[in-house]
Amino acid sequence: MRRTALDMVHELARRDSRVVYVGSDPAPGTLAAMQAEMPGRVMIEGIAEQHVVGMAAGLAMEGLVPYVNTIATFLTRRCYEQNVLDLGLHRTPVRLIANGGGLVYAPLGPTHTAIEDIAIMRAIPGMAVLCPSDAEEMRRLMPLTLDWPGPIYIRLGKGGDPVVSQPDDAPAIGRALVRRPPGVATIISTGIMTAHALAAAERLGQQGIDCGVIHLPGVAPMDDAAIEAASRHSRLLVTLDEHIASGGLGSAVLESLNRTRPLSPCPVLRRALPDDFVHLHGSQNELLSHFGLDAPALAEAIARALAELAGD
């Protein structure tokens, strides 16, 4: 996904002279071809995230569209005030490409797991938060970022994530994509969790339980109409977060439902990481299983919740 995102930066830069890349301390050779082709438009600034984001805001104030890229935790936590003020308050069109959203860097420990990034970034007024499901969706979303009027945070998966987006998708910032039509239960997911949602829905289908999947290519702005429609159609909404429960997609969905249907009778089952640091290591998938976020655990939890509802 990261490779695709950077390839797209290069492609967009060819198309649009406003595009520049700002990196902190990326892998050797990052965007070397772009640097050779358009000198001065690849800026490597060192491990100085406060300066990197502030400088990107200054570039944007002069009409450029900077794409800033580094590890998600450092792009959100270290320079949060720059994100809030230099990007959010000024509404500068800076795009933050965040490597390793969620549990991708779990082997490296809690300093590197970005499990509260959605919460803190969507708390910034005017900040769009995108979480593509796979590299192909990333490819379709990136051109939309060129002319989006405010700042954007883009949460990347690990790379090599299963492709669940469709070639005829026409994603739009702030619009949900229906992956499986709403059923008795409907899962709402974002990022790479949509692949797990689809696998869980498939399992439930084999048990005769009709489960829909709504994929959100981004958490902010929220597609209130899609959430409301699902709540009217389904007996149960389920939210999936590769993120702590506080402030993640589940919170965003509850807030959305509260805006459109404050008295909605549709219950929302939230599946997320505990509100704690992750002290475990291991792979992203190992930890998703550990925290009950893989397809078998999800299918079981949803079936159990539906049975409880039926017994009420």
Binding site: M61, E62, Q82
Partner: protein, 282 residues
Amino acid sequence: MTRPIPASPPLDARSLHLRALAMRGLLAADRGHVGSTLSLIEILRVLYDRIMRHDPAHPEWPDRDRFILSKGHGCLALYAILADHGYFPPADLDTFCRKDSPFGGHPPCHGIPGVEAATGALGHGLSLGIGRARALKLAGSTSRVFVVCGDGEINEGAIWEGAMSAGRTGLDNLWVLIDYNKVQSYGPTAEVLDLEPLADKWASFGFTVDEVDGHDCAALEQVLSRPPNIGRPSALICHTVKGRGLAEAEADPTAWHHKSRLGEAREVIEAAFAAAPPQGAP
């Protein structure tokens, strides 16, 4: 080492006028940063009167020089010089800190012609200025970027991240001016977090460094008029006096750093600048 700078010349009529204008906002709102505003006046006066390319009738003129007041709490001085140059009517200063006024206690990002950036959280302005300077160079523009930082402000690590970048990239269209009044909120900068050797620090980051009496308009103009050293950004350490022009504030600068209610200070300020002559831009 930072050089000792000789005593400032007496304030002339224009400097008194600009101080009275800045204090007009403070008196109207019954609050504001006193000392940090008064130390800035001559720096802004020389920049806007003599150095920067700007056009009050066209605040967004692409060929203008850019100005960022990184020490946003000195905004009354900025509002005063902008009003004096006709960016907006001086009477707007009477709305300082009012509910519906854009003239807040720190510069806002919208609503005031001539204000280039919202500042107030310290340590942001230099990197904003570096981004603008980089973009101007990419566009082949000859416009320059002037960033004014406070001395307490440069305690912030982000300033030094920016300084490393500006030096490395040789931004000779960038000027950083330090309002070195040597007093921050808690007390003397030398005691809170000593900045010395300040000139050596900026030089070691790749800047051409000058020092000047920040209340001596002729000296400021002389330094700021020199052509840039090609491939090097410029730092100008302006030795100033916190509260300059208000004897009580000069004598007790920590007490006059910020007033959230003027009380007896009102009469002191009114008396100090009552006789200031009305004088527009030269």
